[in-house]
């Protein structure tokens, strides 16, 4: 089974700058990454264990974007680890280690999809949805309004900061994320949950930057809407 791993990494993955991103600082867990890689190449088991702590759960989440069950995602992640170890000597650090690992996970998930007809690779899915507004058009005054066309008629109300960090709120976000169309979910997971840059996300998912941005905006808008219903009405949107 593990012999099926093919190093299909897109050759340009490591050539990206990887530095682009959102206007607020994000944690980039590359602190000590070089030391970790050196130890790993030297066969240091504790370094490997540390790497597993850093990335395994993320790898399962990424695999889950491609395969139908958590169990299948776990298997894909385990297969990907072998790919990581086998590719270690070739990794040159031109992209983040995380993005490089994710690309291996994506490749493993896709080849599993080819073997297992029940799983559908992301790339085989059609367009995500019909477009649609980020915010319900009913919440704005009509375009022909004499004084304030297109202005809020029902503006959003500020969220309570304490409530935002509660476990229940995070669960509501996770649940809204689960309900997104596959590509929107994939982009938001990579960007906002896992903290990849936009160029790395594009390369792992094989999409254009413009497309990535549209998908990200749709995803965030839908999750914002779901969170708004949750926080103001105490209900999880359908």
């Amino acid at each position: 089974m593990v012999g099926h791993f093919q190093p299909l990494l897109s050759p340009d993955l490591e050539s990206g700058s990887g530095a682009q991103g959102s206007p607020w600082p994000r944690e980039r867990p590359d602190h000590g990454e070089q030391d970790l890689l050196e130890a790993l190449r030297g066969g240091d088991e504790s370094a490997f264990s540390r790497l597993v702590d850093l990335h395994h759960a993320s790898m399962v989440r990424v695999a889950r974007l491609y395969v139908g069950t958590v169990a299948a995602a776990e298997e894909v992640a385990q297969e990907a680890w072998l790919g990581v170890l086998q590719g270690l000597a070739r990794f040159e650090g031109r992209c983040t280690l995380k993005a490089w690992i994710f690309a291996i996970v994506a490749n493993c998930a896709k080849s599993r999809g080819a073997r297992d007809k029940r799983t559908i690779p992301l790339s085989a899915l059609g367009p995500d949805d019909e477009g649609g507004a980020s915010v319900d058009p009913d919440r704005f005054l009509e375009d022909g309004h004499p004084r304030w066309p297109g202005h809020w008629s029902q503006p959003p109300e500020a969220w309570d900061e304490d409530e935002l960090v509660s476990r229940e709120t995070l669960e509501a976000i996770a649940s809204a994320l689960e309900k997104l169309p596959p590509m929107q979910r994939a982009v938001m997971t990579m960007r906002d949950v896992e903290g990849l840059g936009s160029d790395e996300t594009c390369q792992v998912l094989g999409i254009s930057e413009a497309n990535q941005r549209v998908l990200l905006h749709r995803a965030r808008s839908k999750v914002r809407k779901a969170l708004e219903s949750y926080l103001h009405e105490g209900e999880v949107s359908p």
């Binding site: 682009q20 959102s22 206007p23 607020w24 994000r26 944690e27 066969g43 088991e45 490997f48 264990s49 597993v52 702590d53 395994h56 759960a57 993320s58 776990e74 385990q78 680890w81 072998l82 170890l85 086998q86 507004a133 980020s134 915010v135 058009p137 704005f140 375009d143 004084r147 304030w148 066309p149 297109g150 202005h151 809020w152 503006p155 959003p156 109300e157 500020a158 969220w159 900061e161 935002l164 960090v165 709120t169 995070l170 976000i173 994320l177 938001m188 906002d192 949950v193 896992e194 903290g195 936009s198 941005r213 990200l216 905006h217 965030r220 808008s221 999750v223 914002r224 969170l227 708004e228």
Partner: protein, 84 residues
Amino acid sequence: MSAAIASELTCKELVELVTDYFEDRLATDENRRFELHVCSCTGCRVNLAQMRALVRAAGRLVENDVPVAVRDGLLRTFRAWKRT
């Protein structure tokens, strides 16, 4: 003055540009209109703050617990790899 700004970029248009704004993908002029609008519009300011808060919260969804059995299996893979 504020009516002129409102006619430049409506709230309905602005909500579609939030991610482009975060990603620094708006043209200079559009970026200026975006920020000017947000300065004078409470609703859009709240919407922007919510989108920002959402992204921050999503970054906290990461759980990194690895089950013992999984770790043991991976360590076996590692030892086998070392021998090759």
